[in-house]
């Protein structure tokens, strides 16, 4: 398990919410229908975070059941946490880490809701040919995503480079 806590930082896409964890527990992917819908995806990838501190902003919460709340960024929507009432640790969304490879899932939970095509995802054809229509607009593309590290000021004081 990766325990180099200098790397255990992350946050939302826009950078309004940033976190740091002291150490991580078991990483998993959860197939349950609630994780699917909360993440808008096929599963929820979560890792237990110990000593989690919010270093910029704070999540907004949705109480998804009587015992669980889920944190997200109110400005850009990135799903950030899954928190069971009364537990000290919280579950963090793996994709929100600056380096999501710090948590490689070792288990899949709630397989009952697993989507029927999950097993085939690794075998999809890869798109490598891009049409000119796709490449032309890409040429001027500039990301407004927060960088994958902490920043002193965000968004950039002088604005995004044009």
């Amino acid at each position: 398990m990766q325990q180099n806590n200098s790397k255990l930082t992350g946050g939302c896409q826009c950078g309004a919410v940033r976190f740091r964890a002291d150490r991580l527990g078991r990483p998993s992917i959860c197939h349950c229908r609630m994780c699917q819908k909360a993440f808008g995806s096929f599963f929820g990838p979560l890792v237990t975070g110990y000593g989690v501190a919010w270093t910029r902003g704070a999540p907004k919460y949705f109480r998804s059941s009587n015992k669980v709340r889920r944190g997200f960024c109110g400005d850009c929507g990135t799903p950030l946490t899954y928190e069971v009432e009364g537990e000290e640790s919280i579950e963090l969304a793996i994709g929100a880490f600056d380096d999501p490879t710090v948590a490689a899932p070792v288990i899949q939970v709630n397989p009952t809701d697993k989507l029927p095509f999950f097993h085939a995802l690794t075998g999809l054809p890869v798109r490598t040919e891009y049409s000119p229509a796709w490449m032309t607009p890409s040429a001027g593309l500039r990301s407004y995503q927060h960088p994958d590290h902490d920043t002193a000021v965000w968004p950039p004081e002088k604005g995004f480079p044009s």
């Binding site: 819908k37 993440f39 400005d75 793996i94």
Partner: protein
């Protein structure tokens, strides 16, 4: 009559409806999709038909010069991706029946999370495998919107 697809966010404040057929369904491993969805990759489906927002509207974050991403500002569910004025793509997990939307292409394989190749080797743990989990399940009441359209939501008298 073409197939109708419906979906929405976890809390039910934003709901959508779109007529088939599906134009394109994909997964993308790029770093922007990963971070936007807090996930290892992002699954999207697009349609020739226009998407109708049947309850509420998404909030948008402009993630780059060309792309805006929609989400529910009450529960956070990532809902859409739109490049300029091109057809809107919807997150497959937000559909009421995500099993009806089979991705046929993968983008940004270079940025696959390392676990991607090992998905099918991961040990499975059924729900309720531990005492703690069984205790929680016994009293758990979901506040997630049902996987179908509803006349009114949330249900009256239900705490949030």
């Amino acid at each position: 009559m073409s197939e109708i697809f419906t979906g929405g966010c976890q809390c039910g404040a934003v709901r959508y409806r779109v007529e088939g057929p599906v134009r394109h369904a994909s997964i993308c491993n790029c770093r922007m999709c990963q971070k936007a969805l807090g996930n290892l990759m992002a699954p999207f489906a697009s349609f020739e038909a226009r998407v109708d927002w049947t309850r509420g509207k998404p909030t948008y974050f402009q993630s780059s010069t060309r792309v805006r991403r929609g989400f529910c500002n009450r529960c956070g569910t990532p809902l859409s991706y739109q490049w300029g004025e091109h057809n809107l793509s919807l997150t497959i997990g937000s559909f009421d029946r995500p099993d009806q939307l089979l991705p046929t292409v993968e983008f940004a394989r270079d940025n696959r999370h390392p676990v991607f190749a090992h998905y099918n080797d991961l040990v499975e743990e059924p729900l309720g495998s531990t005492d703690e989990e069984r205790d929680l399940l016994a009293i758990l009441k979901s506040y997630q919107h049902p996987d179908q359209d509803t006349e009114s939501w949330p249900v009256e008298g239900r705490g949030r």
